[in-house]
Symmetry: D2
Subunit: 330 residues, 4 copies
């Protein structure tokens, strides 16, 4: 059994990750940290039996594990990862700290003077359907919006079926994508029955999509009055026929356990919320290709994909601990 610890286990992604690990057939949750909940029984949060109590985040390097999952901010992850790697622990990071290529990208998009630029080249970007099984000791787990967008676009770019410039990604996310918030902006009264765009032309997931889908794009994020889930609607100029575009998506994902090609009107958040699945579907005319994709931002867009990466990294079944997840929609 592989022994995994979670840093930041009371945030949304960290909490889902801790629960997935606690009931996983091949991994053991050996510690969970949270400054907010330190000392409390982890069982109270997970709802599954465990004798662990939350440790403070700062204790992470002192706790034994084969692998550490960081569900922390980019700043904290960039600081912790080198320490843990130095202890010969594998690290999988759910923040954006190791997803971009150059320190300058962090200055621009994350307002972060990256403290460990030497790790950027060796980090494996863990989007299994696009980048395969993890290699090395450090996995950068993809962001939620990039997961939805890249799975929709990358196969078509690679096959030369759409132009790689002038892409529009108009994405809509539930509120848990922003993490736990104690602000009036994220209060129920402000979010319920509303929709708005945010960080227009400045969202930090833009360069991540550009890098791994190999495109030049405009990305807009919107805040949905729902808890979980992302729907991404991407627009591109066609270089091939709709039949070939549909076949490309079907063929690419035919043998993957989690991504499925559907008609674009069948792609919806309720069909994937609670699961590690992604649905993609495309329509096209002579001027435009529209590709719709949907994921659960906390599962395929964060903690579930992290477990999928662990499964592949440690050579167990890719779907272990993930295929039995229930949809939120009955």
């Amino acid at each position: 059994v592989i022994r995994v610890g979670v840093v930041g286990a009371s945030g949304f992604s960290g909490a889902v990750a801790a629960r997935l690990l606690a009931v996983h057939p091949h991994f053991e949750l050996v510690f969970a940290t949270s400054d907010k909940k330190k000392g409390e029984p982890v069982e109270d949060q997970l709802g599954v039996p465990t004798r662990l109590r939350f440790e403070p985040n700062g204790a992470a390097p002192d706790l034994d594990a084969d692998c550490v999952m960081l569900a922390t901010s980019a700043e904290v992850s960039a600081d912790l990862a080198p320490k843990l790697l130095g202890q010969k622990k594998r690290v999988i990071d759910l923040s954006g700290a190791f997803r971009l290529e150059k320190p300058a990208d962090y200055t621009r998009w994350y307002k972060l003077d990256h403290p460990a630029p030497e790790l950027l080249a060796s980090a494996h970007y863990g989007l299994p359907e696009v980048t395969g099984a993890p290699k090395g000791e450090l996995v950068a787990n993809p962001g939620c919006y990039p997961t939805a967008a890249i799975l929709a676009i990358a196969p078509l770019v690679k096959a030369g079926l759409i132009e790689s410039e002038g892409i529009i990604v108009d994405a809509k996310s539930g509120v848990t994508g922003a993490g736990r918030k104690a602000t009036e902006d994220f209060s129920f009264a402000e979010i319920d029955e509303d929709l708005r765009a945010y960080k227009i032309l400045s969202h930090q997931h833009t360069p991540e999509i550009a890098r791994f889908a190999k495109v030049k794009l405009t990305f807009t994020a919107h805040l949905l009055p729902i808890r979980r889930g992302i729907l991404s609607t991407a627009y591109a100029r066609p270089r091939g026929k709709i039949e070939d575009i549909r076949a490309c998506l079907s063929d690419t994902y035919a043998k993957t356990p989690f991504v499925k090609a559907k008609k674009p009107e069948e792609v919806r958040i309720a069909a994937v919320a609670g699961t590690n699945h992604c649905l993609v579907g495309a329509a096209a005319d002579e001027d435009v290709v529209v590709i719709v994709s949907a994921i659960d931002n906390l599962v395929k867009g964060a903690a579930g994909q992290a477990v999928q990466n662990l499964n592949l990294w440690y050579g167990v079944d890719e779907g272990a601990g993930l295929l039995g997840l229930h949809r939120v929609l009955p």
Copy 2:
């Protein structure tokens, strides 16, 4: 034209009140205060034309008006009301500061050492269908839960059709009842798809309902994942027949512009949200009377009822500025 100012005009109740006054045929909104928005144009919030800018709350006694509406906390209201009354301004208070009988009630239920106990006896409790048109210079505008509960119970108690002891009021409110909140507890992710009871056996609206419905009761409040509206389900032991109970409600409210008796299954939040209306309906068997009532907590439960009180106090039509309000449900 009567000149009215609103203190605390950027909170939920204060904002609705300011808008109602800004388009009212007989009143003029002469000032609006808000520490949070001081200096900003009031028009930006109201969406109706006005040249006012928000003043700081502390400026209220320096601003000219015939009447001042306090949409402030009980502490602030208890402090401001005597000053304004001393300036010969009428005061209508939307907090609980003047609704209870004795200073000891405030110590117990509001944890407040009341600074103006001498005003408690002369304050008029402004629930027009029960207590009539305001008299005097100080109106205590009812709480949201008490409005829904008292309108359901009081006529039946008065007519001797239900026992006045052993009453249960199980009430459910949208989140705006708690005011603007910047806490994780009131974040969308915590409220959406949830329901919970709060302040069980200790809610400060309990003695207010007891006092004005003339009952001994158990009151439970629940937090609904909706913005606006209260549904109250009251239980009492019958002393009369269901025909007489229904007739009592129908007759009591037949000529009131805002309260209507309906079948209890027709009483619902969506039928009143956005309006100053209240629906009430009763069912009964030999053991129990069930009385359901619904209001918009910010309108009939706060700002709308305050305007209704002003209408009656100043002798204009009771429905002025209120009967044209649109329901949120189309």
Copy 3:
């Protein structure tokens, strides 16, 4: 006083229209029809006093009025309008029946063999900020998506600040945009916590936007888990500077009572739901202009705009009966 009747007054748009007319200072609601509610008191639905009872839809030509508002399907409107015009009544139609140019457009987009093609040329498209005050006897009231999209795009196209080809309009609407529905697809359990695109590349509002914004576009509609409101995110290639683009929107709408230019992140459904307002805002870089706009689909997107058109048509104040509408968000 101008005497107005509403056909289809129990649907969402018709119900809002009937209520707006019932409390309007210059119009009188003289009849309301509904096959579903025929014989029932109209007051029960409106919540405002009136002695009217619902008439059957087929009785419309027999009922006296100066002007008839049709809140019916395109099929019913196309059939009724010529009859009413033949009786010298003015007609304002909320369906799509008179918005497109050629009968062939109806065959393609509405699957409708238009029964009154001779009226298409003379119908006035009633988007006041773009097409001015109504002329003639027949007004085609704009669709909800087109209202949001055209108000965002048309001024920039006209000023030559964006390319008129290759426009993307990614729009999101609350469920009332689809009318009253008794299907499992529109059940709460299917809509809540979900988002999906529909009628991809085939939505009938596409040619209406193209015609009146004078663009070639791709339009995608999405179904939001909210009751009311549309947010439209439009993408275009810039031909001018962002300063000029912002100035164009600000200047165009500076003196209009209902449309306001804002920063794009301030454009949100909650700021306009319940009102006849539209907010628009733009951001741009060298590759793209993003224009966000928001309306209430039942008010500015249907019944409110119809009343605005009536105000202008009959020469009363443009904001009459509309400026006092309250936002759903407190």
Copy 4:
């Protein structure tokens, strides 16, 4: 491995049951029926791999299985159960068809002339924490409201800590409790932002609670604008001290895997939605005991409890296939 079939597997409860069985370590899903989806791959609905296709409901008696789960209406269940029992298959029924004592109860509460009254006496009511492991060949799986209410009340009645008469149960449920609906009443536009009581004094779950909690009660059901979950607030007159009441709940449930005693303000739907857990908590003063309880209506209130019953009936671990379920709230 025990071979289980599900009749009515495309309804809400049946769909959850089929998925739970499809990934269960000790059971095999051997068939799933649905008239609506007959012939379609079951995998498309479940999201987990299976080669089954939906059979028509009427084929159930012809399909091989050790045990059949009926997720059908009371009418269909009452008809099918005797046939299946005659084939020596075990039957677990999720409808109300075998929960009441006498045929006359069915005439009154279900408007059903019961076709198999001889089975009523031998059916085991499967609420494990109250009635233990199933015995015999027919299990009546409890209703959703009764599960929440009985788990809250029964231990206190049994211990003599509350009066068994004059109980009030005020319960609130998400929409999936009513099954899949294609009616305007259950459309998103009618349910969203609303709350109403229904079937006041006539809900068919009333006698079921009375029978198994051994009380005389008033029961009111309310329809919440959420998908999943029930919160029940019960009121009783105390016969003991609050310390003893709390201790009774804690002790009763200390060793059960799914029911937990908490402070009443910690009892909330979001803490149990998606899981087979139930939370209960009590408060009291000299006049009243308030007991709050929460479950997921489709899991502990239906399909999950059915699997818990199967686990106990077939002697496998009580939590098998259930303890790993994830909460909907992250």
